[in-house]
């Protein structure tokens, strides 16, 4: 097998996996702060996609400010969802499971009724390709990768060094302990939920021009995100990044040898393999 093909396959895998890492980070952030798994997380990805579609294709705004607006809008949607629904479900895993599944259907059907069922193309702001020998990546995807890496770095910095970010980590590690240092748990949880949703929205906005938008678009990335966080370990940021890179490698290389249906199975095989060796994922707290 020519080496370029291998490099190209890896590049294909990584480029998208990094975007799915954003989705996974949002999911895992919400899980660690509120103790719930939001199954409607993919629908916030979808909302980010549609916000971008409306900004670029309908209102004719430039892509970059639209993306920022979309991230903010989905963050706000997250605030609403947290205030109305999820604040009442803190730590109630099973209730949250059922309610978020319901929210998934409401948002997806709502999108079908409001936006129509057909795929809507989002014009790309970036054209052309970058070529290194026989390895190729489109400028569009290259920008997506850069933006995803940038957002991951921003999130890391925010959680690591900002006062609010540190408070989020504190709530995740010990809510009572955090409250006793003066952290407003409710406000911080709401903010954490919003940041988590905004990350999904960012991923949706980034991939909107690449894949077009449609109401069920959130299903695939959220499955990838689950694979990533189960492999990387629930609640771990470096785990999610590593899980994403592993998934990208496995799917990228796997696609050279297997059909696309079989490649989708590879991710799940990876989950099983990791769970057998480390039940809490590679970076999961014991």
């Amino acid at each position: 097998m020519p080496i370029e093909l291998l490099v190209q396959a890896l590049l294909n895998g990584f480029a998208l996996a990094l975007v799915y890492v954003l989705v996974a980070l949002g999911l895992t952030l919400i899980f660690s702060i509120l103790g719930i798994i939001n199954f409607a997380h993919g629908e916030f990805y979808m909302l980010g996609g549609y916000a971008t579609y409306f900004g670029v294709a309908v209102f004719g705004l430039h892509y970059v400010p639209t993306l920022l607006l979309a991230i903010g809008a989905v963050g706000l949607a997250g605030v609403v969802a947290e205030r109305l629904i999820f604040r009442h479900l803190r730590g109630k895993t099973l209730n949250a499971f059922i309610v978020s599944l319901g929210l998934l259907w409401v948002l997806q059907s709502g999108a079908q009724l409001t936006f129509g069922v057909l795929d809507k193309p989002v014009p790309s702001a970036f054209s052309g390709i970058i070529r290194a020998g026989r390895v190729i990546i489109s400028v569009e995807r290259f920008v997506v990768v850069l933006a995803a890496v940038g957002l991951i770095a921003v999130l890391y910095g925010f959680l690591q060094w900002s006062r609010v970010g540190r408070a989020m980590r504190a709530v995740a590690q010990d809510p009572d302990g955090a409250a006793l240092q003066g952290v407003n748990i409710e406000f911080t949880s709401m903010l954490g939920f919003a940041v988590g949703c905004a990350l999904a929205g960012a991923a949706g906005g980034l991939l909107a021009p690449v894949f077009a938008v449609s109401p069920p678009m959130g299903a695939l990335p959220v499955v990838k995100a689950f694979i990533i966080i189960i492999v990387g370990g629930m609640g771990s940021l470096p785990g999610a990044v590593l899980g994403g890179l592993l998934l990208g490698t496995v799917e990228g290389i796997g696609s050279l040898f297997f059909s696309s249906a079989a490649v989708n199975v590879l991710g799940f095989l990876m989950v099983i393999a990791v769970l057998l060796v480390r039940p809490r994922g590679l970076f999961g707290a014991a």
Partner: protein, 235 residues
């Protein structure tokens, strides 16, 4: 400084605290001793806002804080180093300390407090980049107290600081509590199962059993009480 009147706490149908009244004066060290399950921790959790009391009144520094959320009570100057220490295990020692000063913002004053705390607990300075979860029990307790001090509180609530520590370390913790109290004029409400230590460093002591105060008085005289001697000081 702290005035608790007829405090009651219940979890569902279980009554944990059945009418407790106690007070702590400015700059005073007050201890609460009693067996497991007497309701000591529940009393403290109600004072610092982690649980809502079902009845009673708590006032701090003249303000009624009954039913307030924990973060508002911290802002009043009441710091609580809770049972089990509740450190942030994935954070470094330094980050834990900074969380203690969460409400104070950054600045020169904060840096001064940090220097003071680190000077009091030199071990924490050595391990400032280490994760809190990897510290020894004694170090974790020092970090918990240090973190509570970072808020520059007017009153400190300590829940079982000696729990699980070697006798020598317990003595050291006791000395530290007295030193803090003297140096910073911080009032201390100390809950302990280690009655010997609690009675030796406190001015007054309450004895709590099954949700109520059964005995109270100056620590020096309680040390001579036959009930206390029999139940808490091993004869």
């Amino acid at each position: 400084m702290l005035e608790v009147t007829d405090l009651r706490v219940r979890y569902g149908n279980v009554v944990a605290v059945a009418g407790v009244s106690l007070s702590v004066a400015d700059g005073e060290i007050v201890a609460v001793i009693g067996p497991n399950g007497a309701g000591k921790t529940s009393t403290l959790r109600a004072i610092s806002g982690l649980v809502r009391p079902s009845a009673g009144r708590i006032s701090f520094n003249g303000t009624d804080i009954t039913g307030w959320k924990a973060h508002r009570i911290v802002a009043m100057g009441l710091s609580h180093a809770p049972e089990g220490r509740r450190l942030f295990p994935q954070m470094t020692v330094l980050e834990n300390l900074k969380m203690g000063a969460y409400l104070r913002g950054n600045g020169a004053a904060l840096e001064r407090t940090l220097q003071e705390v680190v000077a009091r607990f030199p071990r924490l300075a050595e391990r400032r980049r280490q994760r809190a979860g990897t510290l020894s029990g004694g170090e974790q307790q020092m970090l918990a107290i240090g973190r509570a001090l970072m808020a520059e509180p007017r009153m400190l609530i300590l829940d079982e600081p000696s729990f699980g520590l070697a006798p020598m370390v317990v003595t050291e913790i006791g000395r530290v509590i007295q030193a803090i109290n003297r140096a910073r004029k911080v009032a201390v409400l100390l809950v302990e199962q280690n009655a010997r230590m609690a009675l030796s460093i406190s001015a007054r002591t309450y004895v709590m059993e099954t949700g109520t105060i059964v005995l109270e008085g100056p620590s020096a005289s309680l040390r001579e009480s036959p009930h206390v001697k029999a139940a808490y000081l091993g004869g």
